[in-house]
């Protein structure tokens, strides 16, 4: 997966959680939670969807690595390279 594929995967998952999520003006370097009004329960859904879709095991300690779209790319890039 390319960086933009990974970003799209995350946005698809968020759109699935909240079908009214507004991605216009989203800053890839800023926390997703603040920009999209996601709470910690919604956030766990992103982790669980990644696991369901790509069999990715993300330990709890690594959750902060998914805070922004850019950090998602950094963290998930190597894990999703083969997909």
């Amino acid at each position: 997966m390319t960086a933009s594929d990974i970003k799209q995967v995350i946005l698809d998952i968020i759109a699935d959680i909240d079908d009214e999520a507004d991605f216009s003006g989203l800053d890839a370097s800023k926390p997703l939670r603040d920009q999209l009004d996601l709470d910690s329960m919604d956030f766990l859904d992103i982790v669980m969807e990644l696991r369901k879709r790509y069999k990715l095991q993300i330990p709890e300690a690594d959750y902060p690595q998914l805070a922004t779209l850019n950090s998602c790319v950094t963290y998930l890039g190597p894990k999703l390279a083969a997909i």
Partner: protein
């Protein structure tokens, strides 16, 4: 090899919500329900070919679909249920009446309550507004030792009657302890009942349960009925499986128990803590023919009344306490009116009750039935004192007592709100066995479902 990764004891609303939440990601989950149908305290039964609801007076936490952060809408997102699947009818309005003298009216518009307080307790209004302003400072989700909700109210409002009147609906709709409740729980319930408000699903509780069950089964989850758990098999603070009353063994990797703290300790074969006082209720349902619609109020959903000073919310010395109670008119929710449902008017009357006296009475079935009849008749007279003359020909009437609750649910001493002691984080010292539901301290239909979801989110999903 385990039969299931997760087994949930109890098919009430907390158990079903936990099960759906888990099945969204892993279908390898089993719900064990002791009764022939799901719902736990909020279920239904049939008499004379008609469906009657148990439990449900109203769903709290009403919120419009666009309020994304409201507990109700957050819960639905977590379960992946579309808000449109849940047609909710808001209450019309409810009243708190004390000694035929004070009436506070509240609806899903908080301004109505404030306005009533301005009229009935003008000198206490500034204190009430200060209390309301300070309410957000209580963080109900940070674990903390018991704090008295009554003391918090008294520290702002110096009118004891107003304090009792504000506490009355909250205690009746969710306190497991006498005359008070934990401040965290109070903050949650004040928001759920006064700030957000009451509503009802379209149709009956069966429609809501059927929708949840269909969703759960479509995700691949399993449920078994008449599957009463006899024992949790465990060692070294780890649960390994369950033994059912029919002798069958089910192995699993994790268990969530929604049957209560004491009830779960009992399944573990642990020494039981000394039992504290528990709060029980009787409730009578009076169902009238359609032609009696004109004899009932159409503009009121619930009346919480009290005639004793001070208001006593406690296990009564007598078999019931008629000095206070709740009158509920399930047909009076906006858009769910009588004319559209084709059902006649229904009145439900609830009072505090003494479990032990009912349990002793139930040893003699005939005496128990006679007492139920006597008490429901008295209840009816209490209702007439408030509503005026009512028609005397209910097509059907039925009463549940704390003994009924104890028989059909797991609730020790038939106490619908469970133990006075709450295990707020669901952790009872096991590696893979957690509590959810009533004894986790979140109450009401939305609260209990959030409880189930939160335990899955906290302990089960991150560890898989």
């Amino acid at each position: 090899m385990a039969d299931y990764r997760l087994v949930i004891i109890g098919g009430g609303l907390s158990g079903l919500a936990a099960a759906i939440r888990y099945a969204r990601y892993f279908p390898d989950v089993l719900v064990l329900e002791q009764h022939i149908r799901a719902g736990g305290l909020n279920s239904y039964y049939y008499r004379q070919g008609r469906l009657f609801e148990t439990g449900l007076h109203a769903i709290t936490n009403f919120a419009p679909p666009e309020d994304k952060n409201a507990p109700l809408n957050r819960l639905l997102r977590q379960l992946k249920i579309k808000r449109e699947q849940l047609a909710l009818h808001p209450q019309i309005r409810s009243e708190i009446r004390f000694f035929d003298r004070y009436t506070l009216s509240f609806s899903n518009d908080f301004a109505e309550l404030t306005e009533c307080i301005r009229k009935e307790f003008p000198q206490a209004l500034p204190g009430f507004l200060r209390f309301y302003q300070n309410l957000p400072e209580i963080d109900p989700f940070t674990p903390s030792p018991f704090r008295s909700a009554r003391q918090f109210l008294q520290s702002h409002i110096d009118d004891p009657v107003l304090v009792d009147m504000l506490l009355c609906p909250l205690l009746f709709y969710g306190s497991s302890m006498e005359n008070d409740m934990d401040l965290s729980q109070f903050a949650i319930m004040f928001r759920a009942i006064f700030l957000e408000g009451l509503c009802r699903p379209m149709g009956t509780i069966k429609d809501l349960l059927d929708m949840l069950l269909a969703h759960y089964l479509s995700l691949g989850g399993a449920i078994r009925y008449q599957a009463k758990v006899a024992k949790i098999i465990h060692g070294n603070q780890q649960a390994n499986g369950l033994l059912l009353e029919n002798g069958e063994t089910i192995n699993c990797d994790a268990i969530i128990s929604t049957v209560g703290y004491r009830e779960t300790l009992s399944l573990l074969g642990h020494q039981l803590p000394e039992d504290e006082k528990r709060i029980g209720f009787v409730e009578t349902i009076f169902q009238f023919p359609v032609e009696n619609a004109v004899d009932f109020p159409h503009d009121i959903t619930n009346i919480f009344y009290n005639n004793s000073s001070p208001f006593k919310y406690a296990a009564p010395k007598n078999i019931v306490d008629m000095n206070s109670g709740v009158l509920c008119f399930p047909m009076n929710f906006a858009g769910n009116r009588l004319a559209e449902t084709g059902n006649g008017p229904q009145l439900r009357i609830t009072h505090l009750a003494n479990y032990q006296l009912w349990a002793d009475m139930a040893k003699d079935q005939e005496a128990y039935q006679r007492e139920k009849f006597r008490i429901s008749h008295q209840s009816f007279i209490e209702a007439e004192k408030i509503l005026g003359q009512l028609p005397k020909n209910p097509a059907y009437e039925d009463m549940f007592t704390p003994v009924t609750i104890a028989r059909f649910t797991s609730k020790h001493a038939g106490a619908v709100y469970g133990s006075a002691k709450k295990i707020k984080d669901g952790n009872i010292g096991f590696k893979n066995l957690y509590l959810a539901g009533t004894d986790q301290g979140l109450l009401g239909i939305v609260g209990s479902m959030i409880s189930g979801v939160s335990i899955i989110n906290r302990y089960i999903l991150p560890k898989l």
